[in-house]
Amino acid sequence: MTRLDSSRSLRWLCTLAAALALVVVLFPVYAVIVGSFESTQTLFSGTFYWLPHAATLANYSTVIQAQSGHVLTSLIVALGTAALALIVAVPAAYALSKYRLRVTVVLVSSLLICQIVPSIVLATSLFIVFHWTHLVNSYPGLIIADGTYAIPFAILVLRAFFFSLPNEVMQAARVDGASEWQTFYRIVVPLARSAVITVAVFAFLNGWGDFIFALTILSGSGIEPITLGIYTYLGNYSTDWGAVMASAAFAMVPAGVMLVLAQRYIASGLTAGSVVG
């Protein structure tokens, strides 16, 4: 009786603790939404209002005019990064798990090391290499650079997934006369659908959220993703916080959409990539 009571109250205590933690986790996101609806006067009044105070849509109308081009740019970059990651990673992961090649150990080790390399190291050299190869200020250049976040991770996650596919599936296809490419494209890729989606979601978020390569590789060109747009807003001495927060709200949309639509893929990708990786 007492034990049951205590365990029940313990559970509610846990709910309370979790709720408190979630308030801390979610508050910054909440503050963006509140801030994005505040007027400039409110934001410069020196007081933070916990609930929207004299809500207005003015910031959104400013931002929709100023940032919709940047949102489009970000979408192109994010989709391009996802496409590049899939084109490079899916076949490579398949080869690294289902073919016995002499290069496998070397390549998997170098992928693990690629994950460690800091982006600033790559950005400094890529800026000059891209100058040389005429990839500065271009979508292909930025997408190639953004792929450095996604591709090593994608190959390692997909490789771990392909190990779970029974070899008999491929052998059956070969017995039926399928070529290596047909086996891969018609049989293996459809079976790996969930892992492929996980990888695409992550690559999309990487391309969408990239800032460092946009900052370094797109120097003063017409191409400007939303992350760079937000940073430019900040640059002034008197920051237009309403506009910054409305832009930040736009920049958070894909994360929100992915969280709702691809929840299980995200969680499984995070753990798979890190523990198996």
Binding site: V25, G46, L101, W132, I151, G209, L234
Partner: protein, 339 residues
């Protein structure tokens, strides 16, 4: 083992069978069969290499070339005029000498260590506490577990900007809270006080990294067998003893790899600091990454930036052998279908 197994004819039964069946006249036939086998094997090898080709090309262009080029740059005397060219005059160790004598560079290196150590400690303690919390079956834990990963999904620059908004001197939510509940009487200058600014970026980074620790440690805790926990309970172990003597040793491999990846993520942090403080005030939050950016892209001293980059790279790669060691099962694993 892997390569020898694949060799056609090495213990391949087809040859032996055909040889016995057809007796002494089988020399020629055996030969053709061997060739047929060989082409199938070759075709598969070729297919495997073709599947790998885009990845190999990508790694060479986007990783190997920049890394090698970065080493070259660090030994060159660069100037804005040399950017268009692939090489610049040789500078010897001048760039490295500059970095070691530059007070901002050395403090940036020290800040990076402090920031990394502080972040990992905070992320582990809070992340582990939350992971333990989520193992209890309480109402709302599924929703809680899925919402807790939100910080991990936001663009890092956005997180930096949000925290700048929250930590503003006037009208920032953090100061408002501290004043409303009576902890502080005056707004605290989180971002412009050089002694506090490093704490501010640390707090933001802990917020950012906790979900990663929580998720990984939670999934490790889920894998601890119930029997083990029950046995410890039967033996009269208290909650703290169960945690310290039973659960932690079991999940130790995951703790190690989480710390390792956390270290790698944290030494890379750039966007967050640029958005939050831009390395200021008075270089108080300058990390290796932000100072390297400043050297290369604001002062156009690419050689010096590259030298600092190489120091960062060595720092990050210190844990590479350990990472490879911890991932050795995955490395060794092979399930060749093309047997």
């Amino acid at each position: 083992m892997s390569y020898a197994d694949m060799k056609p004819g090495a213990g391949a039964p087809a040859h032996t069978i055909s040889a016995t069946r057809q007796g002494s006249t089988s020399h020629k036939t055996g030969g053709t069969q061997k060739t047929g086998h060989l082409t199938a094997w070759r075709r598969r090898q070729l297919a495997g290499w073709l599947f790998l080709a885009p990845a190999i090309a990508y790694i060479l262009f986007a990783f190997a070339l920049p890394i090698v080029y970065n080493v070259m740059l660090s030994f060159e005397l660069t100037s804005p005029a040399t950017i268009g060219h692939f090489t610049a005059p040789f500078a010897g160790l001048a760039n490295y000498r500059f970095i070691l004598n530059d007070p901002t560079s050395t403090t940036a290196i020290i800040h990076t260590f402090e920031f990394t150590a502080g972040s990992l400690a905070g992320q582990f303690i809070i992340g582990f506490a939350l992971a333990l919390l989520f193992t209890v079956r309480f109402p709302g834990r599924t929703v809680g577990r899925s919402l807790v990963i939100i910080p991990w999904l936001l663009p890092l620059i956005v997180t930096g900007v949000i925290f700048k908004f929250l930590f503003q001197l006037e009208g920032g939510a953090v100061n408002q809270l501290l004043i409303d509940i009576g902890i502080a009487h005056h707004p605290i200058d989180w971002l412009d006080n050089p002694h506090l600014a490093l704490w501010t970026i640390l707090i933001a980074n802990i917020w950012l990294g906790v979900p990663f620790f929580t998720l990984l440690l939670y999934s490790a805790l889920q894998d601890v067998p119930v029997e083990v926990k029950e046995a410890a309970l039967m033996d009269g172990a208290g909650p703290w003893q169960r945690l310290r003597l039973v659960i932690v040793p079991i999940i130790m491999p995951v703790i190690e790899i989480t710390f390792l990846l956390g270290f790698v993520f944290t030494v890379k942090v750039f966007d967050l600091v640029i958005g939050l403080t831009g390395g200021g005030p008075a270089n108080a939050t300058q990390l290796i990454t932000t100072w390297s950016y400043n050297l290369s892209f604001q002062q156009f001293s690419f050689g010096e930036g590259a030298a600092l980059n190489n120091i960062l790279l060595v720092l990050a790669l210190i844990c590479a052998p350990l990472y490879l060691l911890l991932s050795r099962d995955s490395l060794r694993r092979s399930s060749g279908a093309a047997r």
